[in-house]
Amino acid sequence: MSNTQSTHLHPAARMYAAECRAGKLGRREFLTRATALGVSVPAAYGLLGLAAPAAKAQTPQRGGSLRMQMDIKAQRDPRTWDWSELANVCRGWLEYLVAYERDGSLSPVLLESWEASDDATEYTLRVRSGVTWNNGDPLTAAHVAHNIERWADASVEGNSMAGRMGAIAEDGKLRDGAIEIVDDLTLRLHLSSPDIAIIVNMSDYPAAVVHPSFTGDDPVANPIGTGPYRPVSHQTGIGAVIERNPDHTWWNEGNGAWLDRIEFLDLGTDPSAWLAAVESGEVEILYQTTGDFIDLFDAVGMVKTEAVTASTLAVRFNQDQPPYDNVNVRRALQLAVDNEVVLELGYNDLGEVAENHHVCPIHPEYAELPPLEFDPDRAREMIAAEGLADHEFELISIDDAWQAATCDSVAAQIRDAGINIRRTILPGATFWNDWLVYPFSSTEWNMRPLGVQVLNLAYRSGVAWNEAAFANEEFDRLLEQANGIPDADERREVMRRLQEIMQEEGVLIQPYWRSLFRHAMPNVGGAEMHPTFEVRYQEYWKS
């Protein structure tokens, strides 16, 4: 991909580079943050005194058709997408302003470059020139502005982009004057508060850029986009076929779109059906593999790729529901669970042990705390002291295999400590009805690049997704403070206390950070697992 980003370096980027060189900041996190501020990838690597990773050793080949196993769900307005799969089908023609790469950097796609003001309240976006829609219209700044306005509209049910565009929105829609169209290919965003995550958010899967004529129903039925592919067929629950669009010249011609045709097959949720399909040669690449199946797919000759992430399973207590309103009960249950055992028995040791505070070591502001205690005897005593020796706890989970297995392990440990507990598994369709109010249940959380992001989303008092019903005045205050500290070291000091509060208050049992895996046949290239499940099939090829 060509890269013509501005040569002006954001001051914070130099600071981050210094931190990174001093070992205070992970390279991955450095790349995320530096590129978010508008620094190009080679420049970011340059700041570290490194060369950007060379292009892939193997040269991609053009042609061929690829069959991939992936859920095909009924399509709807991109901004309301709630599954990465919905986005992945459309990635061939609906492109993004920026893309989040496997190494944690942001790369420009429909934007040529972007620049943040030094206080991160003003962003200048330059739209790539020479991009045309597949109906012949050229892409302009007005189109981008139209998309941003769509994202900020909170009146559409399920529009999850609205929450990410808070700094340019007001009363559930775009704030007047938040977008300034400078010329045909330049626009400027005026933020009401500093937000270094706004560009990162535009790489999120619901942020697909649609043509102004799109009315908001089905992006497959009316596939106007800027990408090199177009849909041939799309059948929910069965599969979808995508082919290279012969009537359209892609802006990035020659740097992708190797495959002639991609066929997605929806084989249901049972991995043993996928295995059978792989064995009979019906599928060449899988969307995601988990648990014991990783070894099984290895055994049939597929090649595995791994993405280390800050995705996790939060086995949280809802503090509005007795007996979990009692901090001693929550602490006792935490004490009864050894996260390492849960990782081994529930997730096959395919991740890193976590520490019950939902901040990951790959986050820059992560502060190392003393190791967690594990003391089942004391757990039982504490439960007995609260008069709950005969109480039967209930742990609820969705019926997804690895999540259910993890919760079974958590429950087995609590049971081992001599505390009564039973498990309830709810079907996927039912689970989400009450996910915010279950007394004790598990929820899957995907990764966010910064540690404060999830804390803001899920643990600040009164926010929409606060499933733990966690309300702590000190926590809110410190979090507010942390949001305003651009320097990771300074932020880490506040973060340490935030993490401690999370642990002291016994907010959740968070056993591990997941690694994600994908299997493909050896002749499939460019298709490594992506930390946010992206399937950019325009970069895939077959030899």
Partner: protein
């Protein structure tokens, strides 16, 4: 005869009507509607968003009214959004909202819209039923002759060693549910690491990695021996035992009849007795059983279609039920009722034709 048929058809309609009311009620409970909204508009949407989604998509009206809409006796819902665009049950069917019909329900031949598959229910059901039809056809082709053969062979000489062996085999096959046999078949025939395939490869008898395909998705494009054998055999095996046992019982009974004894005394060969005299009479009972097997086989079809990810009627039913796809489920219920009652009718009529002693009054 005509009166009899009219009565049966009337009964069928009444049964279907009662069942759809029941299904409609169970799928339209408030909690189920919430599930639907969350699967359609996003799992993590708020309660207010759920309410507005339901209102905007025509789920706001009381249940009887909406059932009427589905039947086509109440005008379809119309919703006008603040910017003036009209949405409605019937509007999607016409290019111009002004020309949309007022009623669009079952009576007008419209089966509704599947939320899960984003397609007209009528066309979803038609394609899927076709797929299941192929599966059932092959199941019947495999199951019926082999079951009858086993039954007749066993019942020919009651108590013989052949009878004992075949009867035990039949019992074992009825004791093996599809979810066990299907899985074992896949492991044994369709795995490149265990079972038969690696052995065959070692002996050089097999070029592909597996003998049979453990996934029948490719049968949608073209049925081959290799992709269709396992699902067909899995269903057939479970149903076979029952029919074989019925045939055996019927055959043993016939073999003790006077006319067989007479034929035997006449000096007719055993072969001739079985083929000429016994067989026809012995097959009356199994015929009704085979027909009544249909609804029973439906269970097996659902399991097998899910297990082998073959998108037929059973698979559709599970998808629809799992996603609370109301109108698709209603259609599934109607189809199932018609299939069950129709096979009962055929079984009754066939019984009359096969057995001259019975006449429908």
């Amino acid at each position: 005869m005509l009166f009899f048929l009219a009565r049966r058809v009337g009964m069928m309609l009444l049964t279907a009507l009662c069942l759809t009311v029941l299904v409609f009620y169970l799928t339209n409970l408030p909690a189920k509607l919430e599930t639907l909204a969350k699967t359609q508009a996003g799992a993590r949407i708020s309660d207010a968003e759920v309410a507005s989604w339901l209102e905007r998509n025509g789920y706001g009206a009381p249940m009887p009214v909406r059932y009427g809409e589905w039947l086509g006796v109440v005008p379809g819902w119309v919703h006008e959004s603040p910017d003036g665009t009209l949405r409605g049950r019937c509007i999607a069917r016409a290019a111009d909202p002004a020309e949309a019909p007022t009623y669009c329900g079952l009576l007008q031949g419209y089966w509704g819209w599947s939320t899960r598959f984003n397609d007209a229910v009528g066309s979803v059901i038609a394609t899927r039923l076709g797929a299941t039809g192929m599966l059932m056809l092959w199941v019947m082709i495999v199951m019926v002759p082999s079951a009858l053969a086993v039954g007749v062979l066993a019942g020919m000489r009651e108590g013989s060693r052949a009878d004992r062996t075949l009867s035990t085999g039949a019992i074992v096959s009825t004791a093996t549910p599809e979810y066990v046999s299907g899985v074992v078949f896949i492991a044994f025939f369709a795995s490149s690491t265990v079972g038969l395939s690696p052995l065959l490869r070692e002996w050089g008898l097999l070029d592909s990695p597996v003998l049979f395909q453990g996934n029948a998705r490719s049968a949608m494009e073209g049925i081959t021996f290799w992709n269709f054998t396992l699902p067909v055999v899995t269903i057939a095996l479970y149903g076979m035992g029952y029919i074989a046992r019925m045939t055996r019982a019927s055959m043993t009974e016939v073999m003790t009849q006077q006319y067989i004894r007479t034929a035997r005394l006449k000096g007719a060969s055993f072969r001739a007795i079985v083929l000429k005299h016994a067989l026809r009479n012995a097959l009356i009972a199994p015929f009704t059983v085979i027909m009544l097997q249909f609804p029973w086989l439906l269970n097996g079809v659902v399991i097998v279609e899910v297990l082998f990810s073959y998108p037929g009627f059973g698979w559709t039913l599970v998808e629809a039920a799992g996603n609370n796809d109301i109108e698709l489920l209603l259609a599934c219920a109607v189809v199932a009722v018609v299939v069950v009652l129709l096979t009962q009718l055929i079984s009754d009529i066939g019984y009359v034709y096969l057995n001259p002693r019975i006449r429908i009054s």
